[in-house]
Each structure stands twice: as C-alpha cells, then as structure tokens.
C-alpha cells in the first residue's frame, strides 16, 4: 500500500511537472574573486548560458573556448561557467580559466547545490536561458561541432533566427 501510494505520488508529480513552465531556479554562487553572482541579476542583461564543467573533464575543457567566443561575440549575453570541482581542486579550476584569460564568468558550485537542483548527472551540461528565465535549450556532453548547434539555439533566443524547429533540431546530438 505504502509503495503504491508513493508510486502514484511520484507519477503525479512527474505528470504535473510536464505542464509547469521550465523555469531556471535562481541561484547565487561565488566567482573567482569571491564575489557573489546571482542568476536573476545576470538575466537583466539578456539571455544567459549556464555550463557545468570540471577541470578533470576533458570534453568540458574543449568546450570552454567556444563559450568564451560566444561571450566575446554577443555582448548582450552572459556566460556562467559553473565548475563542480571538489573544494580541494578549486585552485586548479581557477588556474585553468585565469591562465587562458577567459572572459566569461566562472562560478564555483563546490557543494553541487545548483547541479543538484537542476538534476545534472554528467558533465559538460549546457543550458540556454532566455531573458524570462525559461530554459530554452539544454545539451549534454561536448563533441567537436556541438558549438554550432549551441550558437544556432542561442541565435533563436536572441531573436536572430526563427524559433520554429522540428523536434530533432531542438534536441540535437546528445554527447
């Protein structure tokens, strides 16, 4: 009986979730200088790209230069690159982004609070958030060429490309 109840409840939650808006939860994390950065404030400037990465993840490190290019090319967006490196490895993560002079904002989610809230299970995992705070696109993994898919989706959010697309296009190559 207990199990039946639980299963029914979980099912209901899942069904109702489908109808709810897919809003990005607000969060505040520290950047490389120890200052707090808040998503809601970042959204005031325009759409936001949120990317989860770690210094031990090679596909993540390969993706960072293209995120940096987006930050340079589109000044009205904010790229928040959230590292999930363990607290003992934050020095390495800092060294990675500062030595390469990346212009995006690097944030530290050492307790994986934001990662947990978004149910991110593997990295890299990238989200494009429109200015209303809705998750417009998400993508798991990184392979050479994925940056083109990301840019296309970003342009749709920026209103520079039509947003109508087939399901195959809105859910491109996963890893």
């Amino acid at each position: 009986m207990k199990i039946r109840l639980l299963v029914m409840l979980l099912f209901l939650l899942a069904v109702i979730s489908v109808y709810a808006d897919k809003l990005m939860p607000d969060f505040t994390l520290q950047d490389v200088n120890g200052n707090d950065v808040n998503l809601e404030n970042a959204l005031k400037n325009g759409p936001v790209i949120v990317d989860f990465w770690a210094s031990w993840c090679q596909p993540c490190l390969k993706e960072l230069p293209s995120l940096n290019e987006f930050q340079k090319k589109y000044p009205n967006i904010t790229v928040l690159a959230i590292t999930i490196d363990a607290p003992k490895s934050t020095a390495r993560a800092k060294s990675e982004v500062k030595s390469k002079q990346y212009e995006f904002t690097t944030l530290f989610d050492t307790n994986q609070t934001v990662k947990g809230k978004l149910n991110v299970s593997s990295i890299p995992h990238t989200f494009i958030i429109d200015q209303k705070g809705t998750i417009a696109f998400e993508h798991m993994g990184y392979n050479v060429g994925d940056e083109k898919v990301l840019e296309e989706e970003l342009l749709k959010v920026l209103g520079q490309l039509p947003s109508a697309a087939t399901p195959a296009e809105t859910t491109p190559v996963s890893e």
């Binding site: 993840c57 230069p65 020095a91 030595s99 809230k117 978004l118 890893e175």
Partner: protein, 481 residues
Amino acid sequence: MKFWLLILFTVILQAGLMATDLQINGSNELNYTYRTSADSLHTFFDDQFSFTAGYGNFTYGMKFIMYLPKYNKYESNFVQELQPDKLTTEWAERYLEYSKNHFLLHGGTFEETFGSGMVFRSFKDDDFDIDTRLEGMQVKVNYPKFRIKSLYGSWHSVRYDDDSPNNIAYGSEIEYKLLTGLTLAGNGVAMRVIDPTNIYSEQDVWGGRMNLNYARMDGSVEAASSSKYHMSTSARNGYGIYANSNVYLDPVNLSFGYRKYYKFDYILHDLPMVNYHSEPLNDATAGLDEEGAQGEIRYNHGDDNSIQVNYAEAWSSDFKSRMNDLYTEFDQKFSNWQMIAEYSHIEKNDDILQYWTKDLTPAVSFDFNIAGNAAHVRAEYEYIEKQFQQLTTYHYEPLLQTDYHYKQYGISIITETQTEKVSELSSARYWINCEFRTTIFENTDLLFFAGKQKGGKVCRNGSCKYVSPFNGIKLSLSTRF
C-alpha cells in the same frame, strides 16, 4: 479512502501552484542491469526519481530510489542473501530550503564545506560510493563584506550491528573580507562518532584561512588543529596545513602547493593532496603523517596550443614513505582537429612495508570530423611495476578507445588489455565494452552498455564519469523535465 484523499489533495495543491510562479526541475532514471558474475544474481532493476520545486522563497527537493533487488556496485553480496524479488525503497535526499536576500535556512539532507574541505566537508560521491551528507539544519548569512554559516546534523554510523544516524556534527564558519582581494576566515567543527565497538569518540577541529584574489595572483593558506578524546584508545591531537598559489605571467602560469598533515584523519573532511592525481601517500593512512609540495608550469600559446608540466613530491616525517607524481600535457589545435598528448608517472615507496610501485601512462587522443560527424580516438599504454619484499611483478595495460557520433547517435568502444609481454597480446586478458547513446524524445536519453570494464575515470561519448568494475549489460532510460 486515505489513498484517494491524498491523491486529490496533491492534485488540488499542484493545480493551484501551477497557476503561480512554480519552478520545477526533475529527472527520472530507469536502469536495467544484467550482471554476468557467477557469485551474484544476474538481473537488477532500479528507478531513481529526483524532483526539485521552487515556489517563492521556498525550494523543496527530493530523490527517491527503488531497487529490485538492491545492486551493490562495489561489494559483492553473498548470493544466498540476495532475493531477486526483494523491493528496496530509499529516500536518498529530502530537503526544504528558505532563502531571502542575504539569508538561507536549509532543513533536511545537505552537503557543506568549509574552505578547501581540509577542516570540514560532508558530501556524496556516487562514483566512489561515498556519502557523508548530513541530515539536519544549516543557516547561511551572506553579505558582500562577511559570510556566516552554521550547521547541525547527523550521519550514519559504521557500527556493524546498526546503520542508524548516530554520528553528530555541528560547526560554524565566519568569513570576513578585510581588503579588496583579501579574505580571512575562521571555523570550528565538533563531531561525535560511534565506532564499530559501540564506543563514542569526540573530536573538535579549529581552523583559520586566508584567501588572496588578484588579477595576476591568487592563493590561500589554511591551518587547523584537531583534538580527539573520549575514545577507546588514548586521546590525541593533530594538525593540518594546506597552501596553494597561482601566478599569472601571461603566457606563462606558475602554480605552487604545499600540505602537511599529522594525526589529522577523520571522516568529515576531504584532504587536498597537492598532486595532479590527488593521491595520498598511503591510501590506508591518509592524513596520519604526510607532507608534500607541488609545482606546475603552464604555457598557453594563444588558443592553439598549450603545455603543462606538473610535478609533486610527498613524504612521511621519517622519510621512510615517499611518493612522486608527474603529469605533462601538450594540447594542439588545428583548423578542424585537435590532439592532446599526455604522460603521467606515479611512484610510491614504503621502506617499512618493503613496498614499491611505479605507474607510467603515456596517452594520446585526437578529435576530428569524419563526413561532418565528430570522432574521438584515444590510445594509452600504461605500465605498472610493483615490488613487495623480494617479489617483483610488472605488466602493461594498453587501451584503445574510439567514439563516433552520427546525428543524435553516439557510439563508443573501449578495448583494454593486461599483459606481461607485448608479444603475448593475443593470449592476454581483455576488457572490451561498448556504449551506445541516443536521444529518443526531447530530454530523454537512452544508454546501452555491453561488455566488461575495469573501472576508473572514463570520458566517452562527450561526457566524463568515474565507473566501477562491471561485466554484463546495462540499459538506462533517463528523462529530465
């Protein structure tokens, strides 16, 4: 009757909330595992449902897991104790959080860290089967000039006859921004732990930290002392020191690190090991008596290529236990392909145990396009040599990985072997496995794994994960919403 009332209540509540500013994120992962091991059951199912709902200043999160029967990826159960039809349910996480402006109150399951984790860290790591998260409450106050966090919680004991959350921890940290780029912090944690013989021990840890953050330089120094008392053996005091620094002299970047731990071993922390592979001097005695230093140099030539060399040494106070760790990497990008060449070298020596081991791994990987689709090839040639007293053994572990992606389909094949002589490769032991991934619906991924894997960090199909040793088939369907 109760059942339908509850359902009705949930529907009404959720319908009401839907009309408002409700944020919902969640995932469901359904796994089927077929294990070929002879001393185990073969078929396992599990379903992991995670759900986070944000409403106003409140956030509720939970993770619920059902196993049929429960599969332990690290320990093999006695086959006679396993029941194929035993359904196990588990609340892996439940919490309620309230946050407004500079204030946060969290009740339920939580992870927390003070500084680098040297003084305190409670966390969960599925890949290494670690779960020291606390069940309790935490309060955080964040202002630009200062931060305060306090916590009180319990976690599961390792007592052989009981798995109750009998262990208790409480502590606080205050961080103060003294000047631009200079932050000072002080923290204290008290822990009460029940040991396998049902005797409580208590441990207090006091620490201090200084962080520097400037454009051309950053670093931190952390020191802590611990005292352990009320234990079955005699009381003892210990200490830990950790320091790191990065200096950015474009295009060259220098990094330094130092650690020293003496009788500084307890459960709720995660010691920085100050070497590339995060290796302790001795796995069984990490934090008891070790000291080490690390240096790293990186050279970035624009966005096209970079070189890094990282070298670390560690030793015990009597120098009878020593290790070194070298890692070098050369990364070269071309117009439409990329190459990374790596070499890693770890050597450990213990004069008392008369034990010595050496692990060398040269590796090269390429990323390129074939007919417009991404491909990845990685080759490793690991050499391991071990000496225990008079006995010396050695072997090679070559590995070849190929990944290929076509539209939303990704396939990755890894072949790994172990042999003493390269000429005997054909008769050597092999680990061959294949992973296939695809997106079948919007935000729904299907993963199929078949074969035998050795375990360790694996980056395949564009994502990285630590995996446990396994032989069999896995089918996983994950949906995010």
